[in-house]
């Protein structure tokens, strides 16, 4: 089973996680920039974070045979802090980088005017840079948040089929699907979705444009939840092809809209013979 986790915050995870993910079949991840738990107080702090998502983290992932790409944005929570807002002005120079496969994660947190501005501006940035957008839906007041999100998307220069709406659940999936956006489901140990509920939704809505992610981060979360969904799909009678579609081909198709997806790991590690050799050892069993 080959797995592409389209939403996971590896910066918050250990090398044990990388090892377990590779053993479970994960060969590619996309790491969206997000809130780090501790509020940042200056744009420079974001830039170091972005640099890390374009430098150290892909290197770390490659050691475990996992291709790493990222999505960059000013997240909605911190968009409310005027000290952080200048990040928007610097984003263009980051959005041209080879490993950036979307603008994200953007969306609403508390649905404030500052969040309106940041969401609209960043959807425009995505359109300007030929990138799709990863838009999360808020935890609180979720259905109202989804509707407002879809309104802003429909008013933007970005077509719905270049937008992935994430953290969906039973109450939001129908309207999201009707909008023509890609559908993301985050499988968490206690909150968001669990494996069984994802299966129910897949039965009702089909696997088209559906992506499943672990959204694992610094909170209680599990980077192997994608594998859990794949296993349960098979146990519940879905075919290998349907599993591959949801866990690999759909994320490849969505982020492939950027024209920047590079899933050939060898190319990333040819700088030194030793790295190449070490990586080959890691990939030997795969």
């Amino acid at each position: 089973m080959r797995i592409f986790d389209p939403h996971i915050h590896m910066t918050s995870r250990t090398t044990d996680d990388y090892e377990a993910m590779h053993a479970a079949g994960v060969r590619a991840v996309v790491e969206p920039s997000f809130w780090l738990g501790q509020p940042r107080t200056s744009p420079a702090s974001f830039f170091d974070y972005f640099d890390s998502l374009l430098g150290w983290e892909p290197f770390r992932a490659a050691q475990y045979g996992i291709a790493h790409h990222c999505t960059l944005a000013l997240n909605p929570k911190e968009a409310n802090d005027p000290r952080c807002a200048p990040v928007l002005d610097e984003l263009p120079r980051y959005l041209v980088k080879d490993q950036v496969v979307a603008v994200g994660e953007i969306g609403y947190d508390s649905m404030t005017p500052a969040e309106d501005t940041a969401l609209a501006a960043q959807l425009q940035l995505a359109a300007d840079h030929g990138l799709p957008a990863l838009v999360h839906t808020p935890h609180r007041d979720k259905l109202a948040g989804l509707r407002r999100t879809l309104d802003v998307v429909s008013e933007s220069a970005l077509a719905p089929d270049r937008v992935l709406v994430d953290h969906l659940n039973e109450t939001t999936v129908k309207e999201a699907k009707d909008s023509g956006c890609w559908l993301g489901f985050s499988v968490y140990p206690d909150t968001k979705m669990d494996e069984e509920r994802v299966i129910t939704i897949l039965r009702e809505y089909g696997p088209e444009q559906v992506l499943v992610n672990s959204a694992a981060d610094w909170g209680k979360s599990d980077p192997l939840k994608t594998r859990g969904v794949g296993d349960l799909m098979l146990a519940e009678g879905f075919s290998d092809d349907e599993v591959d579609r949801v866990l690999w081909r759909n994320p490849v198709a969505f982020y492939g809209l950027s024209g920047r997806l590079d899933l050939d790991l060898d190319l990333d590690v040819t700088a030194t013979g030793a790295t190449h050799e070490g990586n080959s050892v890691l990939r030997g069993g795969a």
Binding site: D98, H129, G256, A274
Partner: protein, 282 residues
């Protein structure tokens, strides 16, 4: 429609930044513009490389004109056209223009335009065409991805005469990214890096599993370096005391420090470690 980012208003550009067309087969291999076939025999008049290599140390050691000729034989039509235009733009509009100069934009997108395996050499050529000096290479290094930083390091011998760009090399040597460490110990470091920093760079290669073959002018700089010999011997003793094998490369460098030096026993087999190149100094 807004003006695509980073393009001079005066002249149209063949490949705009925003390419809304979906990538045809991103999972197969995202280098559609790259020829799959073997490169045609390159016209090698000015270089005597036995197998023309366009990666790693070869980028720093091969004259840019030869790199360009070799790369051109390996790129497909669209990628070659993109590169020619990028080099032309860089030559015509070097320096800083607007929020991001067009040649810096080309530098950023070289991977997806030429294919990741040709990105390093394409970036070296763009930097060279833009006649990037210390200020320019510093800016694109510190604003670059790891891949862009690596290309800047390889380009230094072609661009900066004198030690002014050493802070870039020293920055790369502070990272644990073995790709950056390998690129940092090229001819520019051989020429300008101070002895203390240079010895630590050699030791870091041994620690992180970067082959010392990457260290430019290793023979010359290691010769009769008693301090380096002491550091290597101490490291070997530390490994031996811990019951861990001594890297083969260590014996090689130790021999270079003094022709009469004998490798410490026991000579261990090559040990990159179970994950010897993950940047962890083990």
């Amino acid at each position: 429609m807004r003006q695509p980012i980073g393009q001079p208003m005066s002249q149209p550009v063949e490949n705009p930044t925003a390419d809304p067309a979906p990538h045809p087969t991103p999972h197969a291999h995202s280098t559609p513009e790259t020829q799959a076939a073997e490169p045609t025999a390159p016209d090698l008049t000015a270089t005597d490389l036995p197998t023309p290599d366009l990666t790693g140390a070869a980028l720093a050691r091969t004259p840019p004109a030869d790199l360009h000729r070799l790369l051109a034989t390996r790129l497909g039509g669209a990628a070659r056209a993109w590169l020619d235009q990028a080099l032309e733009e860089a030559a015509t509009h070097p320096g800083i223009h607007g929020p991001i100069s067009v040649w810096e934009l080309r530098l950023a997108e070289a991977g997806r335009r030429c294919g990741p395996e040709h990105a390093d050499v394409a970036r070296v050529l763009i930097l060279h065409a833009a006649r990037a000096g210390t200020d320019a290479v510093s800016r694109v290094y510190f604003q670059g991805t790891a891949a862009e930083r690596r290309a800047v390091l390889h380009a230094l011998p072609h661009l900066v005469a004198g030690p002014d760009a050493l802070p870039l090399v020293e920055d790369a040597l502070r990272t644990n990214d073995t790709r950056l460490v390998a690129a940092a110990v090229g001819p520019y470091a051989a020429r300008y890096l101070a002895p203390h920093h240079w010895r630590h760079a050699v030791l870091k290669c041994l620690f992180t599993g970067v082959p010392v073959d990457e260290v430019a002018e290793l023979d010359r700089r290691a010769h009769a370096d008693a301090e380096l010999a002491r550091m290597l011997a101490d490291y070997a003793a530390e490994r031996t005391a811990a019951g861990r094998p001594v890297p083969e490369d260590l014996h090689r460098v130790l021999t270079l420090t003094d022709p009469t030096a004998t490798p410490p026993a026991p000579a261990a087999e090559h040990d990159p470690g179970p994950r010897g190149t993950d940047g962890k100094e083990s």
